[in-house]
């Protein structure tokens, strides 16, 4: 072993290397240009998401989720909100579910465009990067129209979404989808049969199906190895069951396959949004507080023998009543239908809306969810984005665990890089699509 130690040398890549899109440190042991060993150090962007979430109310965690995977923030918003709704056992109106699917798919496209564009740029194809970022820019403007922000969207609320689709959303989307398809087509022409690009991508960063499963890898990475696992297909949440889409898979599990999978998924996502815009029903986008009656009304109805009302409506009890603090009474404040934040228009223009908003965000007055535990996952840009939530009956989570999809391929980096050349690290790392915000939380 002594002579080996003379032959190899150590090299630090990162944490702030220009071709590592994210702060991660690779400590490489090299023999010439060959990678003999690699040690991955993460945690440089740790912002204690889970710890902070434990100290917030259920709704206040939503802005934190934007900062997980910051190239597809809407999927995180949706995943978290759906997990809380699963925990509280509430169902969002159908229109709200369609809007959530539309939002998620826009985010999936921006995620894949960023990933493919950045990978191409790191391999020297700056033109492709500019084309794809142009497409992403159009989508960001659409997101801006929809949510009021480009990246920090905070779009979902427990029980619904922030607002309805803007009036001209469908037309705008059609125009933008055309642009995005054009960008993808141009990039496809520039890259897919490009000798230099193929030489760098084909056969590098290869992972076998068995390894990918053993390392818990999901998403486009797993699909590139030929396993058609997609949370949207296996567990069709929201309205995915009603939509028609394909799950593109690869065969060899190398960087080139991952690139092809992502390009194909962009097209599928655009198709999904088009179908949603055709199918989307009219109606409320969030649970509305109109299905609440004052407790005295329900009580009166009960006295008249009209007990059907009791199950149908949630009771609104004056929050200032002393009885609220009594344990038996706390169940009266059934929060099923009383957990959506009122629209901003309502909050800012009338006192009822303001009070409703205030009551929901005020410490220990907001949404309370009975003690329970759940796990829910959505298909994020990088794979299964899961939230394990524990409630102890308070107005905020007792524990939030986010299953970050890109942690798993990053953990498998040893498998991917050892034996390869140092130059292969760039495309492999690019196609893992590590998002530090999600990886380090």
């Amino acid at each position: 072993m002594a002579d080996r130690s003379q032959k190899t040398y150590m090299l630090n890549m990162g944490p702030q290397h220009p071709s590592m899109h994210g702060v991660v440190r690779l400590v490489l042991e090299l023999e010439g240009e060959k990678v003999v060993d690699v040690d991955t150090e993460i945690g440089y962007l740790h912002r204690a998401f889970e710890k902070h979430a434990e100290n917030e109310t259920w709704n206040n965690v939503v802005p934190w989720t934007d900062r997980l995977n910051y190239v597809s923030p809407l999927i995180n918003n949706v995943g978290y909100a759906m997990a809380v709704e699963r925990l509280a056992n509430i169902e969002v109106p159908e229109r709200g579910q369609y809007i959530r699917v539309i939002a998620s798919e826009i985010s999936r496209v921006t995620d894949h465009l960023t990933c493919v564009g950045a990978t191409a740029m790191e391999l020297g194809a700056l033109t492709v990067f500019l084309y794809l970022i142009k497409g992403r820019e159009h989508l960001y403007q659409l997101v801006d129209n929809l949510t009021g922000a480009r990246v920090t969207t905070s779009f979902t609320r427990v029980g619904g979404v922030k607002g309805d689709l803007p009036p001209d959303f469908a037309e705008k989307f059609r125009a933008i989808a055309k642009e995005v398809r054009l960008c993808v087509m141009e990039s496809d022409k520039l890259l897919t049969r490009n000798r230099i690009f193929m030489d760098r991508m084909e056969g590098t960063g290869r992972m076998s199906q068995a390894d990918a499963i053993a390392f818990g890898v999901t998403g486009p990475f797993l699909r590139s190895t030929g396993v058609a696992y997609d949370v949207r297909r296996s567990h069709p949440y929201a309205v995915y069951g009603k939509l028609d889409f394909e799950v593109p898979i690869g065969s060899t599990g190398d960087n080139y396959d991952r690139y092809l999978c992502r390009l194909a998924e962009i097209e599928q996502s655009l198709r999904l949004i088009e179908q949603c815009l055709q199918q989307i029903p009219e109606g409320p986008h969030s649970l509305e507080p109109k299905e609440i009656k004052h407790a005295f009304e329900i009580q009166d109805a009960g006295k008249h023998g009209d007990t059907a009302l009791l199950a149908k409506y949630a009771a609104k009890v004056d929050q200032t009543l002393e009885g609220m603090s009594i344990a038996e009474q706390s169940g009266t404040r059934v929060l099923d239908r009383k957990i959506t934040l009122p629209s901003k228009e309502s909050t800012y223009t009338n006192i009822e809306g303001l009070m409703n908003h205030f009551e929901l965000v005020m410490w220990s007055w907001g949404v309370k969810i009975p003690p329970s535990e759940t796990y829910f996952a959505v298909e994020g840009g990088n794979g299964e984005l899961g939230f394990h939530l524990v409630s102890d009956g308070g107005d905020g989570p007792y524990r939030v665990r986010c299953r970050p999809p890109c942690l798993f391929p990053v953990a498998a980096m040893k498998k991917l890089l050892i034996g390869g050349m140092i130059a292969d690290i760039i495309p492999t790392f690019g196609s893992i699509n590590m998002i530090a915000g999600e990886l380090d939380r």
């Binding site: 993460i42 945690g43 390392f215 949370v231 899961g386 394990h388």
Partner: protein, 164 residues
Amino acid sequence: MSNTNLRGEVRGIPAESNHEELSKLRAEGYNMLVDLTCVDYLTHGKPRRFDVIYRLMRLDASTGQDLGRVEVHCAVDAEPPVLRSAKDIWPAADWLEREVWDMFGVKFADRPGIKRLLMYEEFAGHALRKDYPLTKRQPLIGPKSGEKAGSPSFNILKPTVTGE
């Protein structure tokens, strides 16, 4: 809504025999460790403070279908370490166990030298424990603290030290 139960059956297994039980589950076909995490029930008066949760999935590689999931709970205390590492069953457990140690201070009996995953080695305490205060500050480490380079996170992996 069709099958959107992503939790599957919830089981508790004794922490002392976690490796045997998990191996059995692996043999039953649970080929993917979806997640491994921990919950600190400090104030809940449970006989054992932590719940370590293994989330397993039976994934059919040919069709890509999820054939079923199971959520395995192990109640443990921080001391003494009784859990055995599952990284020989699912390599994904390696980093997740490091995270559980990092954030909760739950050790694995057969990984005595386990390294933190997200925090640096000099970090004192375990941040996701319920008795770790949200606003607690940690001493500055590294070259700026005036300390001579000798700290493990700066030295162990690389031969030279920045700024020296």
